[in-house]
C-alpha cells in the first residue's frame, strides 16, 4: 500500500466535509460545517493550506464558481472528491475500523463524561 495515500485526521475530516456539503463545498461552508459538526474552529489559512495539499495529492479538485455580491464580487472555489480521494477516505476508514476492533478504552467512563462536558 503506497505510504503517500494515507491521510491525516484533518485531511480525513475535510474530505468528509466536502462529501457532506455536496455542491456547496467551498471555504466558508467547509469551515462553518467543521465548527458546527465537530467543534473544530480552523482558520481560513489552515483550511486552504490543507485543501491545497489535498489538491496536490490528487484527492480533491477545485474549480472557481460564481462571484456574489456578499463576497465583494469575488468568486467561490468549490471542491469535489476525486476517485483517488474516495479510495483514500475508504482506506483510512477501514484502517481505523480495523484498529478499533476489540479495543476497550481504559477509563472510558472518564473520556465519555469529558466529551459530554465539552459538547454542552
Amino acid at each position: 500500500m503506497p505510504q503517500d495515500k494515507f491521510i491525516g485526521e484533518l485531511e480525513h475530516m475535510l474530505l468528509l466535509a466536502v462529501l457532506q456539503l455536496k455542491d456547496q463545498a467551498y471555504g466558508t461552508q467547509i469551515r462553518q460545517y467543521l465548527a458546527d459538526a465537530v467543534g473544530r474552529d480552523l482558520s481560513i489559512g489552515a483550511l486552504y493550506t490543507t485543501l491545497e495539499r489535498l489538491e496536490q495529492k490528487g484527492l480533491l479538485t477545485g474549480r472557481l464558481g460564481e462571484a456574489t455580491a456578499e463576497r465583494g464580487g469575488r468568486a467561490k472555489k468549490y471542491f469535489e472528491l476525486t476517485a483517488e480521494g474516495s479510495q483514500a477516505l475508504l482506506r483510512s476508514k477501514q484502517a481505523l475500523d480495523h484498529l478499533w476492533q476489540g479495543v476497550a478504552l481504559p477509563h472510558a467512563w472518564q473520556v465519555d463524561s469529558a466529551m459530554m462536558g465539552s459538547s454542552t
Binding site: G27, Y33, I44, T49, A67, G72, K76
Partner: protein, 248 residues
C-alpha cells in the same frame, strides 16, 4: 450542536439588496487586514480566500460589527502565519540578514564602548552620506527606478523583463559606490581640517576625538555599501532565477 450545512442560515443573515461588484466602504472588512492578505496570499488563492472571509465577515457584522472586525483581523493574522513562509520566505530571509547585520554591528559597538554608544552617532556625518548618495543614485538613474528599487525590497517580483532587474541592480550599485566615494571624500575633508586645526599644544586632547569623528563618515559609507551590495545581489539572483524559469 448544529450538524447541518449552514448555507441557508448564512444567506438569511446577510444584508439584503447588496449592489453587484465591490461592497460599499461601510460593509468592507478592515482595510489593513485585506492589504496584508493580498500581500501574503498566493495569487491563485486571493480570490477565494478574500471572498470567503468577506462573506463570513458580513454575516458576523449583522450580529456585532466590532466583534466582526476583531474576528477578521484575527483570521487575517492567522492566515498570514500559514502562508508567510510559503510566499515570503525568501523576502523574510533577506530582511533577517539585514537586521542581523545591523544588530551585530550595534552589539560590537556596544562591546567596544559600553559607556558611550553615542560616540558612533554623528548627525552631520549621516547627513553627508545618506541623502547625498541617494540623490546621486536617483540622478544617475531615475525617480521611477528608485521607486521600483524600494518596491523590490518589500516584494521581490520574479518573471519580469531583464531590463527591469538591470535598472534596479544599477540603482543599488550607484547608491553603494557613491556612498563609499562620499565617505572617502568627507574623510579627506576631515583630515585636512585636522591638519590645519591641530598643533603641538592641543594634539594630545584633540587628535583622538577629531580622528574619530572624521572616520565616522567612512564607517557609515561602508555600512551603506554593504547593505546595497546585498540588495544588488538579491536583484541579480531573482533576475537569474526568472531567466532560467522562462527558459524552462
Amino acid at each position: 450542536m448544529n450538524r447541518q450545512p449552514s448555507s441557508a442560515k448564512t444567506k438569511s443573515l446577510l444584508p439584503k439588496d447588496l449592489p453587484p461588484g465591490p461592497l460599499p466602504p461601510a460593509l468592507q472588512p478592515p482595510l489593513l487586514g485585506q492589504l496584508l492578505l493580498e500581500w501574503v496570499l498566493p495569487e491563485a488563492l486571493q480570490e477565494p480566500v478574500l471572498g470567503d472571509l468577506q462573506e463570513e465577515f458580513l454575516e458576523k457584522r449583522q450580529q456585532n460589527p466590532a466583534q466582526a472586525r476583531w474576528w477578521y483581523r484575527k483570521q487575517a493574522l492567522r492566515t498570514c502565519w500559514h502562508f508567510l513562509h510559503q510566499t515570503k520566505g525568501d523576502w523574510l530571509m533577506f530582511i533577517f540578514s539585514l537586521l542581523f547585520f545591523i544588530g551585530i554591528s550595534v552589539w560590537v559597538m556596544w562591546l567596544s564602548s559600553a559607556d558611550s554608544l553615542m560616540m558612533f552617532y554623528d548627525f552631520p556625518s549621516l547627513a553627508l552620506i545618506f541623502p547625498t548618495a541617494l540623490l546621486f543614485a536617483v540622478g544617475a538613474t531615475s525617480r521611477n527606478t528608485a521607486q521600483q528599487a524600494v518596491a523590490f525590497l518589500f516584494e521581490p517580483k520574479s518573471g519580469l523583463a531583464p531590463v527591469y532587474y538591470q535598472q534596479i541592480q544599477h540603482f543599488f550599485e550607484v547608491l553603494g559606490k557613491s556612498g563609499l566615494l562620499l565617505g572617502w571624500f568627507t574623510t579627506l575633508i576631515g583630515i585636512v581640517a585636522m591638519a590645519n586645526g591641530i598643533n603641538a599644544d592641543n594634539f594630545a586632547e584633540a587628535f583622538g576625538p577629531s580622528l574619530g569623528v572624521c572616520l565616522l563618515t567612512l564607517l557609515y559609507s561602508y555600512g551603506l555599501k554593504t547593505i546595497t551590495y546585498i540588495a544588488a545581489q538579491k536583484v541579480r539572483f531573482v533576475a537569474i532565477a526568472s531567466t532560467t524559469h522562462s527558459e524552462l
